[in-house]
């Protein structure tokens, strides 16, 4: 079981993590906005995450932390 922690406040909504995710379980939030005005990314199905960290490695702002 993987655990992904996203620092939503620092996310700039660039979608590079969404492109990198092999399981396609990342999306930009429809409901949240951070104080910079971006829709942060969020996980749709945590149980499908394989903790490969591809999202974290491609994130330019290093806002993703992964535990397994």
């Amino acid at each position: 079981m993987a655990k992904v922690t996203i620092n939503e406040e620092l996310c700039k909504g660039c979608e590079l993590c969404i492109r990198a995710c092999p399981k396609k379980i990342l999306v930009l939030s429809d409901t949240k906005l951070n104080s910079k005005g971006y829709h942060p990314c969020e996980i749709t199905d945590m149980s499908a995450c394989i903790a490969c960290a591809a999202c974290a490695r491609t994130c330019p702002d290093v806002v993703i932390e992964i535990e397994k």
């Binding site: 590079l16 492109r19 971006y38 490969c52 491609t58 994130c59 330019p60 702002d61 290093v62 397994k68």
Partner: protein, 244 residues
């Protein structure tokens, strides 16, 4: 639970000023992780450029020195010669390294300075508003080449890695890209190897990182990555250009 990935302590908590999707943040992380893994945090000095990375000194938990535009290799030369046991690197964009600072980088390599240059090539001037750089591809539209770069008028894009690889003083030159997970990991290994080359006192090392500039390319970050794959990598082939 064990941590699979967390932010390295060599990056500060400062919020990066870069545009959404700008790959400078990835390069910063790779450089910071390489320094951390080599255990040389206490004796590493970075020299940061003029360009979008002008504030890079705020993001690294190491000593840094700001240099005038293009002069980072000259400043790094001074630091390295006074402190030969320090690890000294420059962090430069293509407007900095391949244009105004061409003389400095060529002569630093020529002298075989034991420094490492991290060369972020995004084929455009970023900070100043998207003007044509020496690395801009033929046909690429910028604010100063609105109909695309004209080869007859402006020449062809310069391949700095291949050029510096011909110089006797260079010891390790590699070109990497950040377009997918595998290439990001290769980029990390290359940067680490460049630092190891310097620590082994073999000579000058440079890693050219093919990067994106979504804002000035007029593309989304994801479109910019696709454009890099389809246009930049064919013209700027990846791989080790020199290793001694």
């Amino acid at each position: 639970m064990t941590k699979v990935f967390q932010k390295t302590k060599l990056l500060t908590d400062e919020v990066m000023h870069y545009c959404p999707g700008c790959t400078h943040g990835i390069v910063h992380r790779l450089v910071a992780e390489a320094i951390d893994e080599l255990g040389v945090q206490g004796k590493t000095v970075g020299v940061v450029p003029v360009g979008c990375a002008v504030f890079a000194y705020k993001y690294f938990n190491i000593d840094t020195q700001e240099a005038a535009h293009g002069r980072a290799p000259a400043v790094a030369t001074g630091i390295k010669r006074v402190h030969p046991d320090n690890v000294v690197f420059t962090y430069q964009g293509d407007g900095d390294l391949a244009s105004i600072g061409t003389a400095e980088i060529v002569q630093a390599a020529h002298r075989g300075e034991k420094i490492t240059a991290i060369f972020v090539n995004n084929a455009i001037y970023g900070m100043t508003g998207g003007q044509m750089a020496p690395t801009t591809l033929v046909g690429q539209k910028t604010t100063t080449s609105p109909y695309g770069r004209d080869k007859d008028h402006c020449g062809s894009p310069i391949r700095m890695s291949e050029m510096l690889a011909t110089i006797e003083g260079s010891a390790y030159i590699e070109r990497v890209a950040l377009n997918n997970n595998a290439n990001i990991m290769k980029a990390k290994r290359a940067i680490k190897k460049a630092f190891e080359t310097q620590i082994a006192k073999k000579g000058f090392s440079m890693i050219e990182v093919l990067s994106t500039c979504p804002t000035n390319w007029g593309k989304s970050p994801v479109e910019a990555m696709e454009w890099l794959e389809e246009n930049m990598i064919p013209y700027y082939p990846l791989g080790v250009k020199k290793e001694v």
